[in-house]
Subunit: 829 residues, 2 copies
């Protein structure tokens, strides 16, 4: 079935005679295949002690056979290698739909029963194991969180290789054996992932062993990689920087030849990996010193390229060892084997007979003893304890997790005499804090970003670390080195996938990204949030560090770019996921951002979304206040409002001005200042929201405010003008059950934008100070029509500002240089 | 700056002496570079007639210089080739941030002034051209819809190559010259796109000429492709199936050598493209007949592979011809040239002088005459009329768009004696209709899908067409051929990108996808919706066919898969975009799906999202009713409710049961039937929503219902139990302004799921018939506590159903086989 020459297809085997050992591998493989088919088909008669009857077969036949025997084959061989070499492996199942394989091997290794004691290591256990699979109230069909040894669900294809690299960063002793479906390989994220070698440091990182599972087909089609000329495929993989070892199963029946080839290839790969790593670790290849990037360029290693890591191409039949033909059509070795090769087993006696024959072909009697226990000779082939891939702590990363050492908040918070008197870039300041985190945690914290870490103003981290880069380094380069804590690649998919893999194996990290383009990983976020949701329900899964998004260059602050870069909708996407898992923070200034960062880096099993501007902006809150504000998540800002809260004060303000997000907060404070100047009697309450989930009902979200608290802040009946960072509807969605919702008027981004000034953007979306002040005039009943003149002035001011931008190409200085102090001074005059 | 050998870097030139011609190319390039730098910097003094002053320079310096000279270089050479060969080219700017280049060339070609008459072809025009760029009230910094000749905004990197292939499908006379940033090439979608050649039919499709713009850097980093060994890069590109021609600019000053090399490479590429196409078009390569897939396998061509298409690797300095060093640091040829190489031009006289020197280096006096007109010798180098890439109708696809010929709805609608008496798979039935569309429109309609077209049950289309496949075809393959109307690749990014390119160049299509995984293209959808929003505001952009998503295998109908496949959130994502652009349809049965399909295929400039199940399901509405229902978008279903609407009837029902989505509709109808049986007096109104935007306010969305209409349907004060396909909050968001919103109770997907039965999924999320009936009992005040017994029975039924799934592995037959007829029969008894 192959074409052209396959130069590496029959590798020189190792010197030792393999046969006896390989009999064991083959027995394991047969056992795993038997257990896999059993899971898909059987609800009873697990050992075929009596002739198979329709009643033994599940009512609904659900699962994916096609990929499974290949996964089992690889797994069996990895076990042999683990035993032989003592090497620690993590198994990543790209085609996660081959879940039966993962479960089967975990059972064979005993891990399954250790975790799930109701699934014993005997016939009764087997019956349970079979019946529960893809079954209501049972276990999922994929390599899900429920599956021991998995960090990768694999249902949504494309992320296996990125997860694998993330898992081995800073895990020098680990190899992630990563099975990649040839269909999966057509996806964008997977195609990008091959280049991860340009970012893998052989000194401090482990290795990834990609095993391209070239079974020729996906659901209903052949695959591109399987059908291109083999010479082209090899060029492609070499072009990706790998040394491919091809194992081709020409004849499905020649099983022992396949075992020999695969064992040899695997052995060669391990030897090559060790040969690459050794000089980096024994010091014969010097690491480039982090503090000397200039020197680095002259250094010999700077001229080197990433090592040529080995990989395996495993060309084997889809559905191997399953039914060859069904109803006269070829199944083994075709796409028809993808799911359930034999259907209608209840109604079709021929199919039933074929199923029995298929199951018997694994010779279960040779595999299990009379009590249904795996025979000792086979069970003994499992690696011991944590060396079992189903039991490795790397796949239950919370076990390995150490708390981050966090620097003192006070050392990095910005002192400020008075609200807004300092102007600081929140992201720049956070960069200092992150630098210190890196200094304190040199081995288990990384920052990931799609070529935007400096653009997002986190460049202070380069004072203590570099960007990882294994290709040539030139004299002109800055902050590039072989080792470092910052991972930059122009692929949001890779950033996300690497970070997920890093977190799932027990480390910490942050993904910094332009707000608009984080949508690129919407779907990856979904899958991770789902993973966490399920993991939280499994007592044996230890909590892992949260996935932290740091979104900047946001919708309100585009300069060089325009409409394509303006999209605050990631929040909306995120809040659909389980309330326990997700948090959204909109810190209004540098100190609150810092407090939020400190908080989230201590959390577990969550997804934290933090959105902050990068331009210098007023610091509203002094360090201690900011910390309290973040703790509360929401609060009244007396300095911004004009409520008389002294004795004899009226019970409620005339209007509440809510705000969430840095730019909306600035506009709200400025609007309130305008109103205070003109209408000193008007009682305005300014409420700032940092933790967006506070708006929700306490019944809906653990961070939600009680109705009582909400009513106290937003009143039961006063108009609320709410300026929000994102699409306005979300605020309604979060608050529609609140007493005062009928009086809530939200301004936000309404999908208007282009390349223009920040204030013009605010005006385009009617979230500017003048519009907010107009909104107040229009909604406070007691003002009646008294403020017609003021209202007109506000309208005119908008127009004047707009005209200024057209004439001068920038915002009027009284806008861009606005300070609360001056605004209040003019009020005092 | 290159390494190792660059085998193709100095290609044998064509036989003709190039020099005189290349002087023209160089002059064009200088003019384009001058105009580009002018756009970034100048607000006045456009021809440098007087010494440059700070006041001539814009206040904010915004734009991206780095990529621009390379784009201009390529553009100038393509023009030369167009003149020489008469070949039609479409220019796709992967690094769309190089917008100044596109605008500059459009102005040089005269197109800009033809479209935007206020930007004349003289000095005043130049002043306007410069000032407007990246300027408030001006034009965006990217290759936006406003930019003549562009179909690709390019702000979000990664989609250039996919757009290019989409553009040339079924456009045999077109070549899409596609500049790919070396940073862009790191993204997943771009990495996947190289394989598009496996799906390009040389007979009926045009060609793509990728030009990898290897300027070495992205924003702040070198690029992987630029820094890997060149031999590896060539292997990679050959592995992708290309024949790469490398043009390396070793010495930035050796401009004429670069021109020679590039011109030669371009000429060679065109010759290679024509050499590939010719035999397919003259009949010497026979197309595989669509109706003989078996025969195809034996056919000689089946054993062939995709042709080896040419491409160019253009290794040139980033920011070429710009300032070499600034403040002692190298800029040209580094990442420092990415945006604005010279900053603080107002304050720093040295920078100002350097800017002037830079601009003068293009010798504007040689390029423009005294009136600021482009000198005739240069202007004359532009191709004529539509051959200009800035004026090609391919980039304004609406010009080329022909209406689809749509088959008669009645011929495909399912006759049904009585609501729910037929069970039909809506998707299967739609497949028949799509097949007929394909038959009627063999050249301008395609179906795109990530290996899921059959899985989504559209396989009837294979009766009339095949899946396009240019790699080896084997005897076992079905429905694969060199030509066809179905595009299947395991990449949602490619499906989306191809379809977008296809639509933008004036054709029609559908993207069928699993509902959950369409999130993979969330961000691509964003960009397309933004493109449409802006295009609609430009009178010169002709409307294009809508982007149609057909989402199936949805959240409520997973069998082989589980939680990772359950996500109905794409709707939420979509509704954030401009109301004019987006529509969401949830047809409840086969006939409504058909009517929706017929409708959307006639629309323009929209994104239509259609979600439908694929399993056999009741047909509720007869053909004519279904058509009316879709026209209305919402309607009362008398057959399902129990309202007495005769004379003397009470004014309002006791409860409204709303539903949207096929499974929620089924559960609602079943719940109403249960209630009717037990409580014949209860007046239930069932309202089904097909067009989700009907729920919104008419002020918010053009499809929105007026308040009056909404109140009539949903009453002003009766409880409304609404069963919704997706996350329940969206229904609140759409209706929070409605009178009766306080009584609205929504059930939907609340992120609970796993591999289980359909009814168990409904129960897990409390959207099942029993729960809906309970909701009614709990919310109709007049029922008081009278129904305690019935309520308990409903609760118990839920438990019994759940237990049945645990015991039997499937839904109880009285659920899976439920029919309205029987339910009503039992009521009648
Ligand atoms: C992103 C994504 N798109 C589509 C699917 C639907 N799907 C499930 S399995 C499959 C084929 C996978 O083929 P391959 O990776 O070769 O796996 P194997 O042949 O080993 O089963 C597809 C398209 C998916 N799971 N993920
Ligand atoms: C998907 C995406 N991620 C990040 C960015 C931010 N960004 C803008 S330009 C750029 C670098 C582009 O480099 P390259 O493609 O090489 O273009 P060129 O060097 O020609 O400017 C980046 C990362 C983006 N535009 N799109
Ligand atoms: Mg496969
Ligand atoms: Mg570049």
């Amino acid at each position: 079935m192959t074409d052209t020459q396959t130069p590496q297809s029959r590798l020189p085997g190792t010197a030792v005679p393999l046969e006896p050992e390989l009999d064991g591998v083959d027995a394991w493989w047969r056992a795993a295949n038997y257990l896999s088919a059993g899971q898909i088909y059987l609800r009873d008669n697990p050992l075929l002690r009596r002739p198979l009857e329709p009643a033994d077969v599940k009512a609904r036949l659900l699962g994916h056979w096609g990929t499974t025997p290949g996964l089992n084959f690889i797994y069996a061989h990895l076990n042999r290698l683990i035993n032989e070499s003592g090497q620690q492996f993590l198994f990543i199942t790209g085609p996660g739909h081959g879940g039966p394989a993962n479960v089967a091997n975990a059972w064979l290794e005993g891990t399954y029963s250790e975790i799930y004691s109701h699934v014993g290591l005997d016939e009764e256990g087997l019956r349970t194991l079979f019946k529960q699979f893809s079954y209501p109230g049972g276990v999922p069909s994929h390599a899900a969180p429920e599956t021991p040894g998995s960090i990768h669900e694999g249902g949504e294809l494309g992320y296996s290789l990125a997860h694998a690299y993330g898992a081995v960063f800073d895990n020098p002793d680990l190899i992630a054996a990563t099975v990649i479906g040839d269909g999966e390989a057509e996806t964008g994220p997977l195609a990008a992932s091959w280049h991860s070698n340009s970012f893998l440091d052989p000194a401090v990182d482990g290795a990834v062993l990609p095993i391209l599972h070239l079974n020729g087909y996906k659901i209903a089609n052949p695959t591109v990689l399987a059908r291109m000329p083999e010479a082209q495929l090899l060029k492609l993989l070499e072009g990706y920087g790998f040394h491919p070892h091809v194992v081709t199963v020409e004849d499905p029946a020649a099983v022992m030849a396949a075992h020999e080839d695969f064992a040899a290839a695997l052995g060669t790969c391990l030897a090559e990996i060790r040969a690459i790593q050794e000089p980096y670790r024994t010091g014969s290849k010097l690491a480039v010193p982090a503090d000397a990037p200039q020197a680095a360029a002259t250094h010999e290693r700077a001229q080197e390229h990433a090592p040529r890591w080995p990989m395996i191409v495993f060309r084997s039949p889809k559905g191997w060892t399953g039914p060859q033909t069904v109803d006269g059509k070829q199944v083994e070795g075709t796409w028809r084997a993808h799911q359930v090769p034999l259907s209608e087993v209840h109604e079709n006696p021929e199919h039933l007979a074929q199923l029995e024959e298929w199951l018997q072909s694994y010779r279960p009697e040779e595999l299990f003893d009379g009590a249904g226990r795996l025979r000792q000779e086979i069970a003994g082939l499992a690696p011991a304890g944590d060396a079992r891939m189903s039991a490795t702590p790397y796949a239950n990363g919370g076990h390995l997790l150490r708390d981050l050492r966090l620097p003192a908040y006070a050392d990095f918070a910005v002192e400020t005499a008075q609200p807004g008197s300092e102007r600081v870039s929140p992201m720049l300041n956070l960069g200092r804090y992150l630098a210190e985190i890196i200094r304190l945690n040199p081995e288990n914290f990384r920052i990931f970003g799609p070529d935007e870490t400096a653009s997002n103003r986190l460049q202070e981290v380069y004072g203590v670390t570099d960007k990882v880069w294994q290709q040539r380094i030139e004299a002109v380069d800055e902050h590039l080195a072989r080792s470092g804590r910052v991972m930059e690649v122009l692929s949001e998919h890779l950033c996300e996938g690497w970070l997920e893999g890093y977190l799932l194996t027990g480390r910490h990290g942050v993904f910094n990204c332009y707000e608009a383009f984080v949508h690129i990983v919407d779907s990856m976020f979904n899958q991770h949030a789902k993973w966490l949701k399920v993991s939280r329900e499994l007592s044996w899964r230890q909590p892992i560090a949260s996935l932290n998004y740091l979104l900047s260059s946001h919708v309100w602050q585009q300069d060089h770019n325009g409409f394509s870069h303006q999209d605050p909708g990631f929040i909306d996407h995120v809040v659909n996921k389980k309330a326990d898992v997700i948090r959204v923070y909109l810190p209004p200034d540098a100190n609150t951002l810092l407090a939020v960062a400190q908080h989230i880096l201590g959390t577990r099993n969550r997804v934290n979304v933090v959105i902050s501007g990068k331009q210098p902006a007023p610091v509203w809150l002094a360090p201690e206040e900011a910390k309290l504000h973040v703790k509360r998540g929401i609060g009244v800002w007396d300095f911004a409002g004009s409520e008389d809260t002294g004795p004899g004060a009226k019970p409620d303000p005339d209007v509440v001005m809510g705000c969430a997000g840095d730019v909306p907060t600035l506009e709200t404070v400025a609007a309130a200042a305008l109103l205070k100047e003109q209408l000193p009697e008007l009682r305005i309450r300014v409420v700032n929201v940092v933790d967006l989930m506070r708006l929700q009902d306490s019944a809906e979200h653990p961070h939600g405010l009680s109705d009582r608290d909400f009513d106290t802040l937003f009143t039961q009946d006063r108009p609320v003008i709410f300026a929000y960072h994102g699409y306005p509807w979300l605020i309604h969605r979060l608050t529609y059950r609140r007493t005062n919702h009928g009086n809530l008027h939200v301004r936000g981004y309404k999908e208007e934008g282009t390349t223009t000034t920040p204030f013009d953007m605010a005006m385009l979306n009617q979230i500017d100070r003048f519009q907010l002040a107009i909104d107040v005039l229009d909604r406070v009943p007691s003002l009646g029509s008294t403020q017609a003149g003021f209202r007109q002035w506000l309208q005119d001011e908008r127009e004047r500002c707009r005209q200024y931008t057209r004439d001068e190409g920038q915002d009027p200085p009284f806008i861009s240089g606005w300070t609360l102090e001056e605004a209040q001074r003019s009020t005092a005059d």
